[in-house]
Symmetry: C2
Subunit: 377 residues, 2 copies
Amino acid sequence: MAEAPRLTESAGAVFAVLAQAGSATRPQLASLAGLSKPTVSAAVAELEGARLATHSGTASSGTGRSAAVYGLGPAAGSVLAVDLGPARTRVRCCALDGTLLAEASTPRARAADAVREALDALPADAPLRAIVVAVGDVTEPDRTSGGMRPATAKAGPVFDAVSVALPPGVPVHLENNVNCAALAELHEGAARGRRTFGYLRIGVGIGLGIVIGGQVLRGANGAAGELARLPYPWDDDREPRQEALEAYVGSQALLRRAAQAWRPADGPRPRTVDRLFALAAQGREPARSLVARHAADVGRLAAAVTAVLDPGLLVLGGSTGADPQLLPGVRAELGRLSWPTEVVSSQIGDLGTVVGAARLAVAKGVQNVTEGAQVKD
Amino acid sequence: MAEAPRLTESAGAVFAVLAQAGSATRPQLASLAGLSKPTVSAAVAELEGARLATHSGTASSGTGRSAAVYGLGPAAGSVLAVDLGPARTRVRCCALDGTLLAEASTPRARAADAVREALDALPADAPLRAIVVAVGDVTEPDRTSGGMRPATAKAGPVFDAVSVALPPGVPVHLENNVNCAALAELHEGAARGRRTFGYLRIGVGIGLGIVIGGQVLRGANGAAGELARLPYPWDDDREPRQEALEAYVGSQALLRRAAQAWRPADGPRPRTVDRLFALAAQGREPARSLVARHAADVGRLAAAVTAVLDPGLLVLGGSTGADPQLLPGVRAELGRLSWPTEVVSSQIGDLGTVVGAARLAVAKGVQNVTEGAQVKD
DNA sequence: TGTACTTCGTTAGGAAGTTAACTAACGAAG
DNA sequence: CTTCGTTAGTTAACTTCCTAACGAAGTACA
């Protein structure tokens, strides 16, 4: 590579809004970046010179002179997002304006193949600006203190699996998968236009992604939103057990309860939560009551979150949380225990984690360009 | 008043750091504000002209030329903080550098007298820049939606009591008293130097003040940290009741439990939690076991907060929370249920709410000066 | 008591961005 | 086909702040 042609501050600002908008005219850039027309002209010229932006057409606003439209140039580069899910590994490559360049998905064991496949599909001249890897837990036990510590990118055990396929010298960022999914809802899902909300994921495990002012809240140990540690059961005469809540409100518990409640006359017993929800949607018992009870449980979980954070909006996701038929029950229980908070279902589903990781990677990549040097986590 | 002599941006920045530091030399201001020496010289001259800053002496750094020291000028003005506590009303008047100018305290019913008393003690020429009133609840029921809405400064019922004594035309800000106490711990208490922590207050009621990145988290309805709404009791076969947690872990519950457990042979039964804690500190039963059990309860509450926020530090306050003999028990239960989080006792006590309200008022007042116009909440 | 050294504060020149005014390009209406 | 209104882009003067260099005002030491 030739050199690092450090951008002026205004050129960096213009690049950032251009990446956000995808494509824009100079007047639009001026208004979005809060800069004056002459400054934007100078900045665009600088970006064009660095091949970070290119003239991509003209736009007429009906009346008056038509404006030149600019988009990202070849030197802007791309970013990589990896979702190391429990079953499958998903990989996405995006340009800095968020457009999808390449995609791959493999069973978890062949994670490195997916990364290689996506990277091979990239144009050779576009520099890779950032990598975000979504994992289940960004902390790891710390033997020396008996506590937790943030996992380093190099040391994370899950990370070793794909690190062989990752190109060297590119900043890598580990992020919690629930936080990633929350970002996906923020940018292209149910929380669009919000600045603060919570994303409550209920599947085999439970987790919460917290977005405050557009930023993910990570917490001192990267463990904010680890709802599995909520004290449960909790009463005058009962001691909370560690991690008991997950075993009670997770999808396993729902299926276990179904197995107990099912009678021969009720027909074939559902083996998956999807099937159970389908039966409940038809009003069949005991599926309907089981789901209603689950909704109340989710409502209690939501009340715990609301009592601490008051987020204004909760988005429900995960295999056992995203179904819209839960909403009335959740809202009712939440309203009974706490103040009313908007509750909606996830709009993105399983792809949320990669999509959100890609959004995060794009943000890191843009930072990488505008701040000249590689940004350390 | 003559006019609003709008400050240049650099003069505003210099004023802000001068207020924070109390007094400083020009080189110190330059380094604190991130400005160059010539710019600071110009800004100081501007501030002196507006009587917002005055030359207050010289400081020698051992070797080299001695520097001129500047402090706030008479036109900087002052702010007012009011704590409408359950029993007493406390009022503090501060200069914009945080120094105390006047103080008053009355029984709650005569709140307006305290405000008048403090205002009378002020120099007549110093403009009042901001007022912060700490109250127990900044929300009020909204009949139209059935939910909650933020109380307006004019409409809050508690506020009416003192509004007659408040000078008109000054921006008034209502704030939760727990949030205020948290700010006091942040600036001059157990959380000094932190950017993120939680302040858990346990007294008659329970509440949490959340500070993230030096900012109080208020939540969508101003209800973040209203732990009374945590679902409790919570178990497979028990339905949570509204507000049950407060009745279980608050000071009333502690005294009620003491009344149940006390035998004639145990000596005179304590009538206040202070007395109970004193007996426990001497190792006397059953006070010791009651306090140990209370510590475990507080630890569970702390675990609920930690599971959602992972704040890294929890400061315990309130009549039933601040006693250091709780710490071992709280830490043990928190460590058992969640990851270890630093737990310390409040260093400020009852005055925390006014002190924090004053810190907040100072911040608003400085904003008022630097941004020229009155800042709307 | 000078001389050296260090730190404070100001002066001079330059970089970056803003406002205001002007020129350029386009559509629509006579 | 000209003219007018509107919007895009450029040029010029001014503002603000920075860096670099210099003069001013102290302390330390022979």
